[in-house]
């Protein structure tokens, strides 16, 4: 037999179904975010580990100018090394049909006729390169898909000054290019950057690298000292133009992937607790008020001899049931969102396979957290129920003691109608309850502001980066640094309105015991196409002497204005100098360092050379400029801003938007849940009072006004508070999601507040309508007959 208490529980749940739904929605949102992010993270972690392992992803990397192949034997003698692979890696300009701008191809040598030792290729399609077929390449899947290439398609490449036609004979993936992005770029642009694997002999011939290599990758023995290996490798490569060896954690693809996973971790840590917190809060309100309205029933149960434990259990069970519904909703939607989000990741990150794996422990953990939320949210109410002495509970609740407080006197100086007075009195009489409701609605709105904010932030980041700091329409990088005449040549290219020199030098920066790898950018005295920005994002001139750091880099090194930083250049003659920090510049993306162009050149001792140019271009001549650049052998890479912006908006922004939309959807659900819940609670609480008014001759409209007027007033109060909390939340994100990849600017546009307000108001209206319908259907006789 089902016990009467269980029946009561079920009937209570049914009676409260509106609120059950609202709370489930909120808990469901928290569980869904958790299941989604945690599941995605797990999938990424597992798949990455398996991929790295099976495809022997190297652990230490180094580049050099040109080292003799016999050095390989010496390298393999470094203690702790397991396997060594030498390679030739070169960047070339690609001329792809249908693409106006020149693209960049990274040619990577692969042994002909046998698999590589490290960083093994995963062949998705076709075959690997064959001996004596120098024009065959395996193309990375990303570029392959971006252009819709098929096997046997051809493309033009300018290889060591000569234009050649390459044939795609395979589609490959490598653990080295899970995320394929050219050095110094912001985000992947698979149309304009791609990896191509070419035969080692073919590359040796093309770049005069017979018996030589310029890139080496190693794996380590289990107990090897990686730092010692890096140092030893640096020593061996130094005479051959070694650019500084680095460990896997600094490898570009891995670094981005890791950054992305760290962010996911942060999301798991930050977002679900907010949803769970709101849910616990709602539970508290609902159960608290339920206990208040059921105080006589509780007293009755106690009078019959039910123990405090029985009573506590009853309400705990109710909360658990509420939470269970939420957990189930969260499981379903979380798994679904997880699949969708993993799909987005599969577009950025090239794994041989990427799937969202449902692991039971993620669900178990989510469920456990849900149950904890239930316990937490019930605690107050249960304690209240337990504390009720049976005798007191038996006496009918004394009529609420209304008294004219000073505040009330002040407010009621204005002549309001009696219903309006009732609203105001009710709010004033229950200040705690009213403020809790206001707080709840505010939290819903804050979540909206705090998620919509990401869109503002990305927009702002784009604006600052592309239009205030990096203003060049074209950025041209040269194969080798060249003299100042190269700048004049570029200035004379068709459509070029102005050209400014670029000098990029790789270096290690050290302050105290902290060290960072960074690129030092040389900034000319009148640079207008690449500018430093102060903390208000206004352009400031680069001081001619000293070192300027991006905010993030300064933070990482723990230095500020006037502090000393030791610069160890890892190119050319590898000069080492201690410089003062003369400026700290806002750069939301990356961690660049800057020096005056002249002083950088003096430091390098190579004369007034440039490694590229920033160009301002007349858009009408962009096509002919593109054609010329594609045919210029000295050009290693061209970045076209409009294309970069477009690609950013197409790929990154799209995926990010989709993920953010989930959060916005969840936040909307919370806002609605809180508002609807508050309306429901006040209805059930005041049903008798309102029914009595109806009996006294008040119309439905007047009675609805009393209830809904209060709700409206609460929503009104919530709006400024919600905006403020939302801004705080945005601030919190910027602080906690601050990574080496980028910093998030704290900008909340008025439109964001507007949308959040709109959602809350619409939620209020819908809740009002639903409650109004229940109010109209109120059975006066039944309400007045039973004493609840």
């Amino acid at each position: 037999m089902v016990s009467p208490l269980t029946k009561k529980l079920l009937r209570d749940l049914w009676r409260l179904r509106g609120q059950v739904l609202a709370i489930s929605l909120v808990i469901g949102a928290g569980v869904a975010v958790f299941v989604m992010s945690m599941g995605t993270l797990r999938s990424l972690e597992e798949i990455r580990a398996a991929y790295y392992e099976r495809h022997r992803f190297a652990e230490v990397f180094a580049q050099a100018k040109r080292a003799p192949e016999r050095l390989k034997t010496e390298i393999s003698r470094i203690p702790g090394i397991k396997r060594v692979e030498t390679r030739i890696v070169e960047e070339v300009i690609l001329d792809i049909e249908g693409l106006a701008e020149p693209a960049t191809g990274r040619l990577i040598s692969t042994p002909e006729g046998r698999p590589a030792t490290l960083n093994l290729l995963y062949l998705r399609e076709g075959r690997s390169v064959a001996r004596a077929q120098p024009d065959e390449v395996v193309m990375g899947e990303a570029m392959m898909m971006a252009h819709g290439f098929r096997l046997e398609d051809r493309l033009q490449a300018v290889i060591n000054g000569r234009k050649r036609t390459l044939t795609i004979i395979g589609v490959g993936l490598s653990p080295e290019y899970v995320y394929s992005i050219p050095a110094g770029a912001l985000m992947p642009d698979d149309k304009r950057f791609g990896v191509l694997w070419m035969g080692r002999e073919a590359l040796e011939a093309a770049f005069d690298m017979d018996g030589a290599f310029n890139d080496v990758a190693l794996t380590l023995q289990r107990d090897a000292d990686a730092t010692a290996v890096v140092a030893a490798l640096d020593r061996l490569l130094e005479p051959y133009g070694g650019a500084g060896a680095y460990q896997r954690k600094d490898q570009l693809s891995h670094w981005y992937l890791q950054g992305e996973m760290d962010q996911l971790k942060t999301l798991i840590v930050l977002i679900p607790p907010i949803f769970f917190g709101v849910a616990a809060f709602l539970l508290n309100i609902v159960l608290g008020r339920l206990v208040a309205t059921e105080r006589e029933q509780i007293g009755l149960l106690k009078a019959f001899g039910y123990t405090n434990r029985d009573v506590a259990l009853q309400y705990l069970k109710l909360a658990l049931a509420l939470v269970m519904v939420g957990i189930l909703v969260g499981f379903g939607s979380g798994a679904w969102f997880g699949r969708v989000v993993t799909g987005f990741y599969a577009d950025f990150f090239r794994f041989p396979f990427l799937y969202y794996r449902l692991s039971t422990d993620v669900f178990a953990l989510a469920a456990a957290i849900g149950v904890m939320v239930a316990a937490l949210g019930t605690l107050g109410a249960v304690r209240q129920a337990v504390a009720l002495p049976p005798a007191e509970a038996m006496a009918p609740a004394p009529p609420t003691f209304y008294r004219k407080t000073l505040l009330e006197h002040l407010i009621l100086l204005v002549h309001f109608g009696e219903p309006t007075r009732m609203i105001l009195r009710h709010i004033i009489r229950w200040p705690l309850r009213s403020s809790l409701t206001v707080l709840g609605v505010s939290l819903g709105m804050a979540l909206l502001v705090g998620t919509l904010f990401f869109i503002d932030a990305i927009d702002h980041l784009m604006e600052v980066y592309f239009y205030r700091a990096q203003r060049a329409d074209f950025v041209v990088t040269l194969v080798n640094p060249r003299g100042p005449e190269a700048l004049h040549e570029m200035a004379r290219l068709p459509g070029v309105l102005s050209a400014e020199p670029i000098r990029i030098v790789p270096a290690k920066l050290r302050a105290g015991h902290r060290e960072r790898r960074a690129s030092i950018l040389g900034v000319g005295p009148e640079a207008d196409l690449m500018r430093l920005l102060d903390e208000e994002e206004r352009p400031v001139p680069m001081p001619p002497e000293g070192l300027a750091l991006s905010v993030k880099l300064a933070e990482a090194l723990g230095v500020g204005l006037g502090d000393e930083v030791t610069v160890q250049v890892t190119e050319g003659r590898r000069p080492k100098r201690t410089l003062h920090v003369v400026a700290v510049s806002e750069s939301y993306i990356g961690t660049p360092a800057y020096m005056g162009l002249a002083s950088l050149n003096r430091l390098m001792g190579e004369g007034a050379v440039i490694s590229g140019a920033n160009l301002m271009v007349d858009a009408r001549h962009a096509d002919s400029l593109n054609r010329r650049l594609k045919d210029t052998p000295a050009v290693a890479a061209v970045t076209v801003k409009s294309a970069a912006v477009e690609s950013f908006e197409k790929t990154m922004a799209e995926a990010m938007m989709a993920i953010i939309s989930f959060y916005i959807g969840f936040a909307g659900a919370v806002a609605f849940g809180v508002v609807y819940n508050s309306a429901q609670v006040s209805l059930s609480e005041r049903a008798r009072e309102l029914a009595s008014l109806r009996v006294l001759g008040f119309t439905r409209g007047e009675v609805a006004y009393i209830l809904l007027g209060e709700l409206g007033l609460m929503v009104l109060f919530s709006i400024p508070l919600g905006g403020a909390i939302g801004y705080g939340l945005a601030w919190f994100w910027t602080v906690s999601l601050d990574t080496d990849l980028y910093r998030i600017p704290l900008v909340v546009e008025p439109a964001t507040y507007g949308i959040a307000v709109l959602v809350v108001v619409v939620a209020g209206l819908i809740s009002g309508l639903l409650v109004r319908r229940r109010l109209d259907g109120l059975n006066l006789v039944e309400v007045l007959k039973t004493r609840e």
Binding site: P4, K7, Y306, T307, P390, A391, R787
Partner: protein, 238 residues
């Protein structure tokens, strides 16, 4: 009083002070009282004189500020929360003026909620038959009249076969005809099970159905009256 009957409940020097307001309210000012095995005691007194307070203390719902209560040999006032709970669970049945049914449970379920946790209860249906409600088993409180609701409350109170039945103005909200039905139910229980019964009322006519009448005023007993014979509720008029 030189009574030889065994008291079920005995109170000595009970006081109760409520400190909730600005001035302390002395609800009970030293009450000495015994309720005997199988008797019906009727408590009469003006509003605010402390009747409900006394009943709540006797039923283990509340604690006195001073004095002692004994149930058979055990001192109730020395019980801890758990003992009080099991005292209420096993020994006491309550009937209240406002019925206090649980609105989300049917008549039968409202009784079952008590039989569930009692050691030797009667069947819920049987208890409802005792009060003449066998035809209303599956009605919710909102579908019952006031008198019917009160009879459900009585069925609920007696279903556990309590030693003590405490009724606080059980007819207060009912017309005389319905009130008599309710009183008859109480009387039947008392006769059939020998339940010690205390009944609070404002209605002097009801005093005739008791073995004894206890008159209350200002927190103390002002007069004890013994009826030579109990008049059946059916003969009462008001």
């Amino acid at each position: 009083m030189n009574d030889t009957r065994t008291p079920t409940l005995r109170a000595e020097g009970l006081t109760k002070v409520y400190e909730t307001g600005d001035v302390p309210v002395h609800a009970l000012n030293g009450v000495d009282l015994a309720l005997y095995e199988a008797e019906v005691a009727v408590l009469l007194g003006p509003s605010g004189s402390g009747k409900s307070t006394l009943l709540n203390i006797l039923g283990g719902l509340d604690r006195p500020s001073g004095g002692h209560v004994f149930f058979h040999g055990d001192e109730l006032t020395a019980f801890d929360e758990r003992d009080l709970t099991s005292y209420r669970r096993e020994k006491v049945g309550f009937v209240f003026q406002f019925y206090n049914l649980i609105p989300s449970l049917t008549a039968r379920e409202n009784v079952q909620i008590v039989t569930e946790i009692a050691t030797d209860p009667m069947d819920a249906t049987e208890a409802l038959r005792l009060v003449g409600l066998e035809a209303r088993l599956d009605h919710f409180p909102a579908q019952l009249s006031g008198g019917e609701q009160q009879r459900v409350a009585i069925a609920r109170a007696v279903a556990k076969r309590p030693k003590v039945l405490l009724c606080d103005e059980p007819t207060g909200a009912l017309d005389s005809k319905t009130g008599i039905l309710v009183l008859e139910a109480i009387e039947t229980i008392n006769r059939e099970f020998g339940t010690t019964t205390a009944l609070i009322t404002h209605n002097a006519a009801i005093a005739d159905m008791g073995d004894r009448v206890i008159l209350f005023g200002d927190g103390r007993i002002t007069e004890l009256r013994e009826n030579t014979e109990r008049r059946p509720p059916g003969e009462l008029v008001w």
